[in-house]
């Protein structure tokens, strides 16, 4: 087990620059998710770390040692592929034992039929057998060892792929969207199991996914990637509550964060649709900005409120309810989280006024960078961290 660092890695495919200088330091035993939309370069970064792809520039270090020029087989990393990539002709047990056979047996001992008669082969084979059984036991696939991958369900194959990855003691585990081929229910279950496995093994995990829920629920830190860059790498709650950029705020969180246009007056006072808000920017100058409001920071206000509109759609999930409000002058609807008890008063077309928690308001400048020097006007000056 070891930490891992990525230093200023770039990758070009011909003219297209897929990675534009990515740096990331992952501590020993940490679970880091690379999350981002399709084509953001997350899988490419993982493959570069694995050694399956070569970076155009930059360096990768595993356990403090540069692995530049070292091929994948020598990097001591394990990988779980999206398609699982199990060897179809080998049984589950044989699949799991492949990484051990490749590393512990010499060419003669690996030969079919005669390999078993080579000197030392039996001892190695029985050692490998016991390690395979242990891994299979951990993943509860002991009863499947004699089956071929073709006879297994998606979830079982996924476990076998995990088994093959964890059977030797790698420096880190790389997982490339391992849950994307599973159905929704199994995905939730396997998510918890992978997180549990990480706690049990206490190993370094790098997990690539486009599903922010997976990233949020499993990781110690998530690295949000977009357009070949890491926009923010932070603990899930920080990425959610305190995003550095508007893209991060928009990507993390479901339902999506509400983004409202703001004007900044010459004194730094913020207003929405000509209605002054209880917020000001220290040292701000005249211009435009964006206000990010999570659905749970909005509430229904009885009296005066800055955001007014009509209920356009509502989704009752049982434990909570998301109400979409059509606000005149806004292209996108504003989503609000409400208690299901209120559904009678929130029928379609009902006019509503929405107020929000100014402490939790996220203000972004015209370029999408977070403006942190926001203070409330009514209360004593307080910075929203």
């Amino acid at each position: 087990m070891a930490g891992l660092s990525v230093e200023n890695v770039t990758k070009r495919f011909g003219e297209t620059e897929v990675l534009k200088g990515v740096s990331l330091v992952i501590a020993d035993g940490e679970f880091v998710s690379l999350v981002g939309p399709s084509g953001c370069g997350k899988s490419t970064l993982l493959r570069i770390i694995a050694g399956l792809e070569e970076q155009s520039s930059g360096d990768i270090q595993i356990g403090g040692q540069s692995v530049a020029g070292q091929r994948a087989a020598d990097r001591n990393l394990s990988m779980v592929f999206q398609s699982y990539a199990l060897y179809p002709h080998l049984s589950v047990g044989e699949n799991i034992s492949v990484p051990l056979k490749m590393r512990r047996m010499n060419g003669l001992q690996q030969l079919p039929l005669v390999g078993g008669f080579m000197p030392g082969a039996r001892n190695v084979a029985s050692d490998i057998g016991s390690v395979v059984n242990q891994a299979a036991g951990m993943l509860e696939i002991g009863h499947l060892l004699d089956r071929k991958p073709g006879q297994l369900s998606g979830g079982q194959r996924q476990r076998v792929a995990l088994g093959r990855a964890l059977v030797r003691d790698p420096a880190a585990f790389l997982l490339d969207e391992p849950l994307s081929n599973l159905d929704a229910k199994l995905r939730v279950q396997t998510r918890a199991e992978i997180a549990q496995l990480h706690r049990r093994l206490d190993a370094t995990f790098i997990y690539v996914t486009h599903d922010q829920v997976e990233a949020m629920t499993m990781s110690d830190r998530i690295a949000v990637m977009m357009g070949g860059r890491i926009l923010q790498c932070a603990a899930p709650e920080i990425a959610y509550e305190d995003p550095d950029r508007i893209e991060v705020a928009e990507f993390i969180g479901s339902p999506k964060i509400n983004i409202l246009p703001l004007e900044i007056s010459s004194e730094g006072r913020l207003s929405f649709h000509d209605q002054p808000l209880d917020l000001a920017i220290a040292g701000g100058s005249r211009g435009v900005a964006s206000l990010g409001l999570r659905p749970e920071t909005l509430w229904l206000s009885g009296g005066e409120a800055p955001i007014r509109g009509r209920v356009a759609h509502s989704e009752n999930l049982g434990s909570e309810m998301f109400v979409q409000v059509d606000v005149p002058g806004l292209e996108e609807r504003v989503t609000l989280r409400a208690m299901p008890e209120l559904r009678a008063s929130l029928t379609l077309g009902t006019p509503v006024a929405l107020d929000f928690d100014t402490d939790k308001a996220l203000v972004f400048d015209a370029d999408g960078a977070r403006m942190r020097k926001v203070r409330r006007l009514s209360a004593a000056a307080s910075e929203v961290a």
């Binding site: 091929r71 994948a72 087989a73 990988m79 592929f81 060897y87 179809p88 002709h89 990484p99 690996q110």
Partner: protein, 326 residues
């Protein structure tokens, strides 16, 4: 009621039985055209050949006599037929492994190429497209003992170091180079060589098709699992994935090898090469059954030929179902 019930039940059972009978009859009527065609075109000739193999029938004769298993006894006792088996098996055992191996090797090499793939594919496939009869004539010229290209080229090696390291060269330079098509030591090997030259391109194309179905991610998985050499990756991923292709290629090549005929007919139309060293089964069938009008013995060889092909096909089916189907 108790009186009526059984009679109703009886009528119902009777009508359903009648319907079943009618359905069965209709089914037979509908399949008769296909069945009769199959019997007339596929099964009848085989059965007739099988029957004729127990007779001394000749085309044009009014009648024939049953000779029992005499034709088969001849096949297994006469030295001509012993030569036939030796020539056929030599050809099959040489051509099949080499042309399958070459086909696989060339397919792997072409598959690893970035550019010029299509050019190489075309070049290797050319002999497959060419008519073997025409090619055999070209080869006949090349193999001519005095004016042929092969021996001329070998003569160019005389006086060089080759003479010292290669006894064949030393012998050839001192006396003469082989009469390729007239020497019983070389004739069958020349035929084998031409068979391989002509056939491996076809296997290459089949293997190239098989290679496209190998999952790319498996190679990455193999690399992560520690398969460093090309050989390890081949053994772990490529070869198993090509299992079904290999079974098919081997079977097809075997059957084609048993069927070799046109090279021999072009080189030695008078019969079977020097000392019958290239007297293969297909040529024997042609010679006995067509040239000499000995339908009985010709049919017996045909039945034997059919037996070989059926056994090969059964082995292929068994392998496909048991071993290479994942």
């Amino acid at each position: 009621m108790t009186v009526i019930e059984p009679s109703i039940a009886g009528t119902a059972a009777g009508s359903s039985r009648r319907r079943a009978t009618r359905e069965r009859r209709d089914a037979w009527i509908l399949t008769v055209p296909a069945l009769s065609l199959m019997v007339a075109i596929l099964l009848a000739p085989v059965i007739i050949a099988g029957l004729l193999s127990f007779t001394n029938y000749s085309l044009g004769n009014g009648g024939f006599d049953w000779v029992g298993t005499r034709n088969y006894e001849e096949l297994f006792t006469r030295s001509t037929y012993e030569k036939m088996f030796v020539a056929t098996l030599t050809y099959v055992v040489t051509v099949v492994p080499i042309s399958v191996g070459l086909g696989l090797g060339v397919a792997l090499l072409i598959n690893s190429l970035g550019r010029f793939r299509e050019i190489y594919k075309t070049i290797y496939f050319l002999p497959v497209m060419a008519t073997l009869l025409a090619m055999a004539i070209a080869w006949e010229f090349m193999l001519h003992p005095s004016i042929g290209m092969i021996n001329r080229m070998l003569e160019m090696g005389c006086g060089t170091f080759l003479e010292n390291v290669w006894p064949f060269m030393a012998h050839g330079c001192a006396e003469r180079f082989p009469v390729w098509l007239g020497d019983k030591r070389y004739a069958i090997w020349v035929v084998c060589f031409i068979g391989i030259w002509q056939g491996f391109g076809f296997n290459m194309v089949l293997y190239l098709a098989g290679l496209t179905s190998v999952h790319r991610e498996l190679y990455h998985a193999a690399e992560m699992d520690g398969a460093k050499s090309a050989w390890e990756r081949f053994r772990l991923v490529t070869w198993p994935a090509l299992g079904p292709t290999t079974v098919f290629v081997v079977t097809i090549t075997c059957i084609r090898a048993f069927q070799v005929f046109d090279t021999i007919e072009a080189f030695w139309p008078q019969g079977g090469g020097p000392n019958k060293s290239t007297y293969v089964m297909m040529f024997a069938i042609f010679e006995k059954g067509v040239q000499q009008n000995l339908i009985g013995i010709g049919s017996a060889i045909t039945m034997l030929f059919l037996l070989f092909v059926v056994v090969l096909t059964l082995i292929q089916r068994w392998l496909v179902e048991q071993k290479v189907h994942y």
